[in-house]
């Protein structure tokens, strides 16, 4: 199976608001795929459908060979979600949070798994404190650590670095890169174009319910009008590409 995720004609409405109007994309095994889009574009909605939290209204979404609508139980075997808002238990300590997830994943040695994870994320010092005493960056790291327990094959990161300072952001980037190097498939959403530029193997832009551009950074760069490239001294940033494409679509 080449593809980790296959999305075809995905549609979803909330009441009378049509959020996804036919989304298509594929994610290859082992790559980092970034989903870009403005506030309210529907990024989290896509992630929730792929994680079996929401049912699609139409189209298909296949994760690790299993349809999310008809075989959600099988999908859950191979995925893990770090949602847009940190989902940690506030009353358990960091270590207890990790042990709990390790037990729910039926791992052999939950305590060892927790300690290893704390070490890997530099949270050993904070192991016995409640997350409510953590900084934003530490919380996010714990949140991501919880998602990595049990080494799921496909990881969803919904705006993993929103609200983090540059230092913490770079730390999260390192974690994501290391995961991909180990063969994990990663689908992440972001509003930071630089983040996609830094991390992603492929980038898709979600705009007004559809994917309006999809490709490697190099491919997206060719989408810019030729004339413009000649006048720009440095390479265009993804931000410029994004704005140009979004602007073009709206003009039509």
């Amino acid at each position: 199976m080449e593809k980790a995720i296959e999305v075809k004609g995905l549609r979803k409405s909330f009441k009378d608001v049509e959020v996804l109007k036919g989304v298509d994309f594929e994610v290859t095994r082992g790559e980092i795929f970034a989903l870009l889009g403005s506030n309210g574009a529907g990024k989290s909605t896509i992630v929730k459908i792929l994680c079996t939290l929401l049912k699609p209204d139409g189209g298909t979404a296949v994760v690790n060979g299993n349809d999310v609508a008809s075989r959600p139980g099988h999908v859950r075997q191979s995925i893990s979600l770090t949602g847009q808002f940190a989902a940690v238990d506030e009353i358990l300590t960091g270590r207890e949070n990790l042990i709990m997830i390790a037990k729910l994943r039926h791992l052999k040695n939950p305590h060892q798994v927790a300690d290893d994870m704390l070490k890997r994320f530099g949270l050993t010092e904070a192991a016995h404190r409640k997350p409510s005493t953590y900084s934003g960056g530490m919380r996010r790291k714990l949140d991501i650590a919880l998602s990595l327990v049990g080494n799921p094959q496909i990881i969803f990161l919904d705006e993993p670095t929103t609200g983090l300072d540059p230092e913490a952001r770079i730390e999260v980037w390192k974690i994501v890169k290391a995961l991909a190097d180990n063969g994990t498939t990663i689908l992440m959403t972001t509003q930071y174009l630089e983040e996609a530029e830094q991390l992603a193997d492929r980038i898709a832009i979600l705009h007004e319910g559809r994917i309006i551009a999809n490709g490697t950074l190099a491919e997206l760069k060719t989408l810019l009008p030729q004339a413009k490239v000649e006048y720009v001294e440095k390479q265009p940033t993804l931000e410029e590409i994004f704005l140009a494409i979004v602007g073009n679509k709206e003009a039509i």
Partner: protein
Amino acid sequence: METAKNRSFSDMGVMLGRSIRHVFRSMDTIITVCITPIAMMLLFVYVFGGAIDTGTDNYVNYLLPGILLIAIASGISYTAYRLFLDKQRGIIERFHTMPIARSAVLWGHVLTSLVSNALSVFIIILVALLMGFRSSAGILSWLAVAGILMLFTLALTWIAAIAGLSAKSVEGASAFSYPLIFLPFISSAFVPTESMPLVVRVFAENQPVTPIVSAIRALLASQPVSNNIWIALAWCLGILIVAYIFAIRAYKRTSSA
């Protein structure tokens, strides 16, 4: 199949452990739940007690069953509160993307409700003993009392689950328990229903609290329980089943898949 079943039990155990930790790390919730019923018991016994004629010589004995029901009715609002927080903070979403039984999360909260309410009932009975509560009941009667109280807790817990899962705010999640706390006042919990005006009396005699209180009172006094115990059980089971159905529906709505 067998291993799937074992797994789902083990998942439920983990969820129970989690939520029990929540209870024991916020002992103030248990204390809050105990304080009002205990204060009421003191008030009724030492302030109003002399003026109330229940036809018994030990008013604490008369009062205790109703006090326990009030404690449970206020205790379950914390179950609603904890469920609401889980839903709001997204931890339920994390659990729901994991390969674990969906029901494990909900049952963890329900079992925790049983444990924490049992704890407050136990504390209140200890205080009642200090205040002169005495019972001649044997072990079987006590077991029957425990069974009725558990069933009552379960029934109210499922009502709490509906509230916690469908509430839009913390206040909304716990406000529903106020009317439940008031039910014992319009029952035979504090004064015999014979003293009430007709309309109130008809309500008092036909609402669930009166037969439950009467059954527990009779069991504790080693008296025949009459029909009351069956009416009490029927009420508890009926509420439990209806609330369970609506709670599961509300739970499915929290994540539509």
